[in-house]
Symmetry: C2
DNA sequence: CGAGTCCTTGAAAGGTCTCAAGTCACGTGG
DNA sequence: CCACGTGACTTGAGACCTTTCAAGGACTCG
């Protein structure tokens, strides 16, 4: 029956704690018990909402913190010396991002909000220290990075071998799975990113992505209404993607 | 003046210990002091030489150990449901591989020797336990994974944006840098992988890779003699790769 | 409501792939 | 040690897919 009435906690609503976060099954907190979560809580700072376009971190700046997305969505991207931009990932609530800055001590990519977004911020040094006492947390960090590597490897396979149809189909199916894992509809969702961003991510041009969407709609596989996507023929999409969502 | 005369150590030559390994500046042991290294030593088992084509681990099998390459070279590759193979990386002495199996508990890719190769094997559970007491080791593991992620992201950029010339030039320059870091010539080296493997890795066909090599040689940028490569005009190669080695 | 951006659609161009054939290197066995 | 066979590599010509260039239409936000 603790309603956060102590002076220290008065400004922190219970929903602002890991133990009450509806994402803790996706985030770092997975498999931590209550007392462990409260330790994690102490090193987490909750950011205020960011608008579309705002940067959570900027390529080249010192690596200090990692982020756990709470609401909204972001893209990560690197800008090469020649100035062209490569999107390296899209992230949703529950995702932990920024761990790739550890080895160089600087942020290797920029993180930008695709819509109104809130994120929890964790100083990496504190997280690392805490991981000494919490084996499950330590393991979770390693798992996150390990999964990131596998995701990137899947993207390599996509970019190295697949044509435009296969790329877009795989992209939609992976999004679908991620929305499903977050309790949203897997067959109907809104794309938070632009066609340009999809194209960039998939190594295609905007025109090609647009044509593929049109074609898929003509074939009755999906319904497209601007950013709204409805998957009509899941099996057909799966076949297009060679069942490798 | 310990010459390893105790019974337990008699079969272990001093060169078989991390503290005497000429790769410890590249490997996990970087920045560990002698006593720390000896702790690491205890959980490392040295494998006997593998022949070209032999597997260090197989996609799908249980994830138990990670590997540190001692001599030779390997490729990692994933085989998709449809059976086509995607090479995800080439690795050389001092590289630590296999950490991407943590999150799923199974090996997400196969590791195959490209030539006669020896590797140290470390059970991950023991390594993780040891990392509790050795902050520098813990950090090194994270750094390795963080760097892996960045490398994959660079590959994404390569595959998404670059044409065949840029891909091959970048590939050669990255190899050159890695050989240099290992004390070998940066301008003259032997490719341990086949044209087919290069093509697969770069998302091209064998024919295209062959044509690019031929063209680069005609332009006087490199000399090719089967697997022997000599970089003649480094600046030209850098320009081809847009200075993004 | 207008300006600007995003998205779509079309036609032509270009780069890589596919298919095919020939050459070369290497290991095996005679 | 040489001959041979096999696999790896190279080279050429045509096909195909995606890009490029161009323009029109739709959505969004001040």
């Amino acid at each position: 029956m603790n309603h956060n009435i102590s002076l220290q906690n008065v400004s922190i609503s219970s929903s602002m704690q890991c133990c009450n976060c509806n994402l803790n099954s996706l985030c770092m907190a997975v498999s931590l018990d209550l007392s462990e979560m409260s330790k994690l809580d102490r090193i987490i700072s909750r950011g205020k909402p960011m608008r579309k376009g705002q940067l959570l971190s900027t390529q080249g700046e010192n690596f200090i913190s990692v982020f756990a997305l709470k609401t909204g969505s972001v893209k990560t991207y690197t800008t090469s010396a020649e100035g062209d931009e490569q999107i390296t990932g899209f992230y949703f609530p529950g995702d932990l991002i920024g761990l790739n800055g550890i080895h160089s001590g600087t942020c290797p990519d920029s993180i930008q909000a695709l819509e109104t977004t809130t994120a929890c911020k964790i100083e990496f040094e504190q997280l690392d220290q805490l991981s000494v006492d919490l084996p499950k947390l330590r393991r979770q960090i390693l798992k996150t990075m390990s999964k990131d590597i596998c995701n990137e490897q899947n993207m390599l396979q996509l970019l190295a071998n697949k044509n435009s149809d296969e790329r877009v189909a795989t992209f939609l199916l992976r999004l679908s799975n991620r929305f499903k894992a977050r309790g949203f509809s897997e067959s109907r969702f809104r794309l938070p990113m632009s066609r340009n961003e999809i194209a960039n991510y998939l190594g295609l041009t905007v025109e090609t992505v647009s044509r593929v969407f049109t074609r898929m709609q003509k074939n009755g596989f999906i319904l497209v209404n601007n950013k709204e996507i409805q998957i009509v023929e899941l099996k057909a999409l799966l076949k297009l993607a060679n069942n490798t969502a």
